[in-house]
Amino acid sequence: MSTVNLKAAEVQVRENRLGSITGFKGTASELVECAKCGELTDSERSFSQCLGCSTSNATCAVALIQDSAVISHGPVGCAGRLHDYGFTYRVNGKHRGVADPQQRRIFSTNMDEHDTVYGGNEKLAATIREVYERVKPNVIFIVTTCASGIIGDDVQGIAEEVEQEIGIPVSPIFCEGFRSKIWTSGFDAGYHGVARKLIKPAAKKQPDLVNIVNFWGTDVFGEWFKRLGLRANYLTPYATVAQIETSSEAVATVQICSTLGSYLAAALEQEFGVPEISVSPPYGIEQTEKWFRELGKMTDRRDEVETFLREEREKWLPEIERLREALGGKTAYVTAGASHGHALLGLLRELGLRPLGAAIFHHDPVYDKGVDSLDSLNNLVETYGDVPGYNVCNKQEFELVNILNRTKPDILLARHGGMTLWGAKFGIPSLLIGDEHYGMGYEGIVKYGRRIADAIENDEFVKNLAKHAVIPYSKWWLEQDPYAFLGADAEAEGF
């Protein structure tokens, strides 16, 4: 059954739509098996630390659209960190063809106690009108919050009413924090709002246009695609509303991470006839070759792809060999979002490193397209073998601290902010690479390998930091099983 329904105002959260989970301990192959048999059950924690919520991720999908404005409907704190997107938009614009990035227009309805009693509908309507007058954007997105959700404001009704009046799309995005433990549900909610309100049925096809669902990484696809006679249509950061409207004219959709783009890619395929690539993103040699060949098939560029792959192999394989010799046998630990975490594990194996384990933020047993070939964890296990100590853990720092303290890998690879600190406090070289395109293709293996070798070699800073580290965790906790608070039967005893 399709998970995409653009007629509905809301998209279901991942737990319900895909059966995703945030708590698991075991090995990667056990998780794949459980997921295949439909035996995946989530585990609860009796101790937990501050999680992210869907609001940030939903905003991430829409605030960097060039001509958009975003309203957070809730208390002012629910927009607290959204200023980050203003910074990102500004500093990465130069990588993505936006020479003079303009101020991001981010608003809060500034809900107060009165509104929680009498409702915030009027305030929301007034805010949409004011934002329209102030910004004159081509679309206004409204992201909802716990407060507006629980008091039951009619965000959908208000959006429709004011939309009629002002004549531009007003797209409500339902992403209340309490609805999902998986903050990536926010991406789905954001893309649902994009697909419902902006994407138009194709008037014609552009046979060289490929949609790429991504964040704000450097323009590697642009370079690759030039050699293949293709053009990259990046979605949604730095796109214009007009560009999004015609994304239905593309010949295919690819994505840098199925955790990110699952829903938008499926919506483009199922509602607008743009096929989604059914291969995991191009990290590591095997996936890179599979991915490019599939792209060649979809865009009728099989020969160009073979030439491309041959050139890439010739250029990069010798260096990959040298890096394998330098890094072979070193141990690593990974903490990252689901699909990107699988990509990083693949890269490590490709370079000859030995992952001791991983703390991956959630697990989707299936993506919205519903095909097995997209299962990036399964692909990882089949290509490189099992990963021990595979922990699904929604960024619970206390578990990570405990694990790092006992595993002491040669390197910690992280993908979300805040985690590398703990590697460093234990003197473990720790690496976070923000550009999500960095590790792709043959070249990506080399670039990542060099950075890893560099981090391992230059460990003076982390060694020094470790000497002066302040650790708020109790000695007792560091000696417990890291999963002591995971699952009802595993309550930690003995304090």
Partner: protein, 441 residues
């Protein structure tokens, strides 16, 4: 009904978790939806402290707690917090979800307090107030639920000991540096200071001596006032209030003399300290004056400030009298409650006896920016904007100089720099003219 806010410069009530984070070895425990702690840490940046940010325990409300309540989950969370983290003080803060569904988090917290745990409860749903107001609520709650139980002595005053309430940690990007300077100058005139926050504070040990202070010092036009009033009522501690941040020679001297007069400190020692400090301060100004008066390639002539009321008044006074930069339209962005507006206007009116400096209370900083754009071209000379990261592009568009001094501040790194006092004034001068000189290649 307050209106929309564009480019927010402050947080909601649960942003007060940073007040807890600033107390050495204290931990905030959030009974809230997921995302609250991340929004707070993301607003402030580099604000993790000892046990904030990703370390802070949180009940992370799900649909189930919204329907069935989350009291049991909170109880487990608190119990396990004692196992996992080593902390001296725990402060339970509620978010919107908990408040709207009606959890009795106070009762849950009380159980642990009755077991003898140093734990405090504060109701801080985001819709209730800003983090400026929540700061007062939290400090008062710690006083009532912790200090009052554990204080060494509730009645006897210790001569020379003062509690200082001069800054909102983290919301004031210069809080650490400012506190350090306040301590230095107050010690200079013979006092001992409970800073209460930051690395120079002795943590909960210091909090336990709050009732013993012979008086309190409040440096603020409005926030912190209810703390000083509460302590006056509770422990009979009088307070001296100075209504803005004292920056530079004139204002720091005025502040110290005010404190000295209030506390009847020996004049000779106070004046000796002031004379020495002024000598150091004005030696720099003296050697700078030629540059300020003669630099022929252009220096800022006027300034717009977007900051909280304390900074707007303090920086305006300082720049006008000690550097010659003229304050034009000023914007108080900290959502000051109406009842304090008059007092702040009166203080702004005192900045110059020759001219009126227009001040606007504008938490919607997007609207403030629009006003600055409209005023462009009205003033002669080169403009300066002192604001937050949002204002960098505004300054660029208008070709003004720009200092990032309020939150959010993604384009500037501040560690222990302060702008308060004699030293802070010199530092602010260095920052402004250093940035200006940087524009010449």
């Amino acid at each position: 009904m307050p209106g929309l806010i564009e480019q927010q410069r402050f947080m909601c009530a649960i942003g007060g978790m940073q007040t807890v984070v600033a107390i050495p070895r204290a931990v905030p425990i959030l009974h809230s939806g997921p995302g609250c702690g991340v929004m707070v840490t993301g607003f402030f940046d580099r604000a993790k402290g000892y046990a904030g940010g990703n370390t802070a325990p949180c009940s992370n409300f799900t649909e189930r707690e919204v329907v069935f309540g989350g009291e049991e989950k909170l109880e487990n969370l608190i119990r396990n917090t004692y196992k996992v983290l080593d902390t001296d003080l725990q402060v339970v803060l509620t978010g919107c979800t908990s408040a709207i569904v009606g959890d009795d988090a106070a009762q849950v917290t009380k159980k642990f307090a009755e077991e003898g745990k140093p734990i405090v409860f504060v109701d801080t749903p985001g819709f209730k107030c800003s983090n400026f107001e929540a700061h007062d609520l939290i400090v008062n709650a710690v006083i009532d639920q912790y200090v009052d139980l554990y204080a060494y002595n509730h009645t006897e005053k210790e001569p020379g000991l003062v509690n200082l309430f001069a800054t909102i940690p983290y919301q004031d990007p210069f809080w650490k540096g400012n506190l350090e300077e306040f301590r230095r100058i107050l010690e200079g005139i013979g006092l001992r200071v409970n800073l209460l926050f930051g690395p120079h504070s002795k943590g909960v040990e210091e909090w336990k001596t709050i009732p013993q202070a012979s008086f309190n010092i409040l440096v603020s036009p409005w926030y912190g006032l209810s703390i000083a009033e509460h302590l006056r009522e509770k422990y009979g501690t009088p307070f001296y209030a100075f209504p803005y941040l004292p920056i530079g020679g004139n204002e720091t001297t005025r502040f110290l003399r005010g404190v000295a007069e209030f506390a009847h400190l020996p004049e000779e020692r106070v004046e000796r300290f002031i004379a020495q400090e002024e000598k150091v301060f004005y030696e720099e100004l003296d050697s700078l004056a030629t540059f300020l008066l003669e630099f022929r390639y252009g220096l800022p002539g006027f300034v717009h400030i977007l900051h909280d009321a304390s900074y707007v008044i303090g920086v305006s006074k300082f720049l006008l009298h000690e550097t010659g930069i003229v304050p034009k339209e000023q914007f108080v962005t900290d959502n000051v409650p109406e009842e304090h507006h008059e007092k702040i206007r009166a203080e702004m009116a005192k900045i110059s006896d020759k001219k009126t400096i227009p001040v606007f209370f504008q938490p919607d900083a997007g609207a403030a920016q629009q006003q600055i754009r409209e005023a462009a071209g009205e003033s002669a000379g080169r403009g300066l904007i002192i604001g937050g990261g949002w204002d960098k592009m505004l300054a660029r568009d208008l070709k003004y100089d720009f200092i990032s001094a309020s939150l959010p501040s993604p384009y500037r790194l501040v560690l222990t720099t302060g702008y308060a006092g004699y030293k802070g004034g010199l530092r602010l001068i260095e920052d402004i003219y250093g940035k200006v000189l940087d524009t010449y290649n």
